[in-house]
């Protein structure tokens, strides 16, 4: 038997590969669950019911998927143009910081206008944070992997300074958190008495918009060309650096938007545990989705399902909830293997 490279990956296989990868990951993780002393099938059953079983759990899963979609889109849009933005976490926090600072009463605007302004400001903050390393990359050849990654820590320290200092909520009994945003700056709930808010729709709209821009506009076309072959794009007269800069604005903006939405949709104030690593998880989401914008929606819901479901599984069966991290990580590895194998066919000789 030998492997031969395919010219085309058939559509059915392209769809089967991620599903197969997730199944393989669940089978591999079954061993760990059994080791933790829980019945495997029941554990997976609890995982699914924990994520989808009730109105409350379903809305919780979708609420958790919302920031993941946006940070996943942020990573996907950048990676497609070969801009390696590892700084989603920092851009998320800058977006959150800007929204929390501007939403705490300084702006006297009517509700819908205030919300729009806060979202735009949050996105602008995230975009600005990515524009700096991108300019360093295009002008001076500084590796953006290093700069964007390290900026995450700078931003976290800055947020910490702000919520311990100027933005500190005087009514929070000394807890390091910002003053809450005003009542009419809060995104409406989609379903009453749940945590699912209008930010979910914004994330879906962002995915559809990204998909349309990518496949139908000149900007999307040029960024695809730059990502696939920058040399040929430059030779053909496409402004490569300007295209990458535009991609950076989109990417950083999406991550900043995620942070702003998390503040005005869910938490209502800024703390240092606002994100359990949404910026980094966005990279995983993007890779699981093969950098496809609509795939990001599915991948974000999958990752959120595993996290929410694993919490419930842990509570009822005593399995450590760290298993969620393992399932997501193994899924990603299986996905990478599946994508590789899908490009080849096995031939008997």
């Amino acid at each position: 038997m030998r492997l031969e490279r395919r010219d085309h990956v058939p559509a059915a296989l392209a769809l089967a590969a991620p599903i197969g990868a997730v199944l393989a990951a669940l089978i591999l993780c079954a061993g760990l669950i059994a080791w933790a002393g829980a019945p495997v099938l029941e554990a997976y059953g609890r995982l699914v019911t924990g994520a989808f079983g009730s109105r409350l759990s379903l809305t919780e899963t979708l609420a958790r998927a919302t920031p993941l979609m946006l940070t996943g889109l942020a990573a996907a849009v950048a990676f497609r143009a070969r801009l390696w933005n590892i700084g989603g976490e920092g851009q998320f926090y800058i977006g959150a910081l800007v929204a929390a600072a501007a939403g705490a009463g300084a702006l006297a605007l009517p509700g819908w206008l205030l919300i729009s302004v806060l979202l735009i400001l949050g996105a602008a903050g995230g975009a600005a944070l990515l524009v700096v390393p991108t300019l360093l990359k295009t002008k001076a050849g500084v590796d953006e992997v290093v700069t964007t990654l390290l900026l995450n820590f700078v931003v976290l320290l800055f947020v910490s300074m702000m919520i311990e200092g100027p933005m500190k909520d005087p009514l929070a009994f000394g807890w390091p958190q910002s003053a809450p945003v005003v009542e009419h700056a809060i995104l409406p709930d989609l379903i009453a008495r749940t945590r699912l808010h209008a930010g979910f729709l914004i994330a879906i709209a962002a995915a559809v918009a990204f998909w349309l821009i990518d496949s139908r506009t000149v900007q999307g076309y040029e960024s695809r060309a730059v990502g696939a072959n920058p040399e040929a794009a430059r030779f053909a007269g496409i402004a490569v650096d300007r295209t990458i800069l535009r991609v950076a604005v989109f990417s950083g903006g999406l991550a900043g938007l995620a942070g702003a939405i998390e503040v005005i949709g869910l938490k209502e104030y800024l703390t240092l545990d606002l994100s359990p690593g949404y910026g980094y998880a966005g990279i995983i989401v993007a890779m699981l989705a093969q950098l496809h914008p609509l795939g990001v929606v599915a991948a974000a819901i999958f990752v959120a399902t595993v996290f929410v479901g694993a919490d419930s599984m842990g509570r009822s069966l005593g399995v450590p909830s760290f298993i969620a991290d393992v399932i997501v990580a193994v899924s990603l590895l299986c996905m990478l293997v599946a994508l590789f194998l899908a490009r080849y066919r096995v031939r008997r000789r």
Binding site: D7, R216, V218, Y221, A225, A228, A232, A236, G237
Partner: protein, 511 residues
């Protein structure tokens, strides 16, 4: 069945290999005698490389058998092929750049568990072989520091070191300068005289005629003809390869018009080759100016200037009589410059994008293809379909991935892209490198037709015959300096060879 004579060292019998729907090798039989140089001639995709990869055991044939020195060769095992005395020099070298020549040659010849290697004996053996076949290389040089020609010598030595008696060279001259090629042919002749047998894969007629004794022509997976080299000629071989009558396009005498591209005392810092110093060059309407030279003597800089990628550090650059202060590829395209890049995979097309997306690569912002920032996909697809029809691009359709196109069809796509905009100045940088005979004739025809329509063409090429056939005037580039162009009729390959080697005085420097 092949009648195996006493001198037959290698016999292929009925080799057949199928990839999906394509028959890459269709019942090919051939034999190779001791001390013989056999050329395997064919266009790209004729099945030459497939056949040799089967022989070397990387692929397994669907049918057919191989015998080496009268013994059958087990299929699919490169090690068996090496042990039987077959050595292969691939088109892309398989050397470790950070090791020395000696290390590379010894690599894989000694068991891993042996505590220390006998480097002294190995060195002696390597130096003996090098001296015997005229393959001088420095045993302690790092391979990464060697020239391409020297690396090829190391590849050949590697095979000889493993006692190869049959040497297969896959397109060995593709990366060599004319001088290095000549040297290679001399080495091959010496090896044949010593009793080695050589299979030499090529699609270049001139070198096949110069270097081989017998020629087998492959076409579409079949061995269509066999000729003694002495009893055939260029024309017959070309027609056998293509399978139809060929007419080489003719250059009509035309009066050149106004300058379309001019360099005046231009300096350019080093850019992948020599820096340019004081270059003067004028290309006018209705003429083709050829620039020849050994690779790395400043052609890259000249091409960068003529395609808008680089701005002169000193001196002036003018397009259509207007000085250009801040050149850029987009400005050149907008001004009416058509550019054929040297590396069509690397800078000509985006392989992962569709044919239609590459068709509009230079003009995506043109109102014909974009409105309010939205791509007019219908218009782009229609344009791509027209290019496919007008320029005879063989592909499954405008939505096919461009990387799947053959080199010739990719070049036709690039030609179509630039010629459909009716350029007044064309840069053609190595426009036929790696193409087969049919595609070369097509490219030449298109360039001459563009000249007749009034375009000026700057043709940068390493193929002297091509330049002498197409160009009205020819300049030689050496060490970043350019001779004054001379009428092509007053030049011949010998004189050009001297100029290319830098002997400007002896060759009668006109400038």
């Amino acid at each position: 069945m092949i009648e195996a004579t006493r001198d037959t060292v290698l016999a292929l019998d009925g080799i057949t290999k199928r990839f999906g729907d394509t028959l890459a090798n269709d019942a090919i039989s051939l034999e190779l005698a001791r001390g013989e140089i056999l050329a395997l001639l064919g266009e790209n995709g004729a099945g030459k490389t497939t056949l040799m990869t089967i022989l070397f055991g990387h692929y397994t044939a669907d049918a057919g058998s191989i015998a080496v020195f009268g013994r059958p060769l087990p299929p699919g095992r490169p090690r068996a092929a090496i042990e039987a005395g077959i050595g292969m020099v691939h088109q892309h070298f398989t050397l470790a750049d950070n090791l020395t020549v000696l290390d590379n040659v010894m690599l894989g010849t000694e068991p891993l568990w042996r505590p220390r290697s006998d480097r002294r004996a190995a060195r002696r053996r390597l130096e003996d072989l090098a001296a015997r076949f005229g393959l001088e290389v420095h045993a302690d040089a790092r391979v990464g520091d060697l020239s391409v020609g020297e690396r090829q010598r190391v590849e050949i030595l590697k095979s000889l070191y493993r006692d190869a008696r049959i040497l297969i060279l896959d397109e060995p001259t593709a990366v060599l300068t004319p001088q290095e090629s000549e040297r290679l042919f001399a080495t091959l002749a010496r090896m044949a005289a010593e009793g080695l047998s050589i299979v030499f894969i090529s699609h270049k007629l001139g070198e096949v005629l110069a270097a081989s004794r017998r020629i087998v022509v492959l076409r579409a997976g079949r061995a269509v003809a066999e000729r003694e080299t002495a009893a055939t000629d260029r024309h017959e071989l070309a027609e056998l390869m293509v399978g139809q009558r060929l007419t080489e396009p003719r250059r009509q005498p035309l009066d050149p018009g106004a300058p379309v591209f001019a360099l005046d005392g231009v300096d350019l810092p080093r850019a992948g080759g020599s820096a340019l110093a004081g270059v003067d060059l004028t290309v006018r309407e209705r003429e083709i100016v050829g620039v020849v030279g050994v690779a790395g003597n400043g052609q890259a800089g000249l091409a960068a200037l003529a395609s808008g990628l680089a701005a002169p550090r000193a001196g002036r650059l003018a397009l259509f009589g207007e000085p250009v202060r801040r050149p850029s590829p987009a400005r050149f395209v907008a001004a009416g410059v058509g550019r054929i890049p040297e590396d069509r995979h690397g800078s000509g097309v985006v392989g992962d994008m569709a044919v239609w997306e590459n068709a509009i690569l230079e003009r995506a912002r043109d109102p014909a293809f974009a409105r309010h920032g939205w791509l007019r996909q219908g218009a782009a697809l229609a344009f791509a379909r027209r290019l496919i029809a007008d320029f005879d691009i063989r592909c499954p359709g405008p939505r096919a991935r461009t990387a799947l196109l053959s080199g010739g069809n990719m070049q036709k796509l690039i030609l179509g892209r630039i010629l459909s905009a009716d350029p007044r100045f064309i840069l053609a940088n190595q426009p036929t490198r790696g193409l087969d005979v049919g595609a070369i004739a097509y490219v030449h025809g298109q360039l001459l037709a563009a000249r007749e329509r009034g375009a000026g063409v700057l043709l940068i090429s390493e193929d002297l015959d091509e330049v002498l056939a197409l160009a009205d005037r020819v300049a030689v580039i050496h060490g970043g300096r350019l001779t004054a162009p001379q009428p092509a009729g007053e030049l011949d390959t010998r004189r050009l060879g001297l100029l290319m080697a830098g002997h400007w005085g002896e060759a009668g420097h006109a400038a």
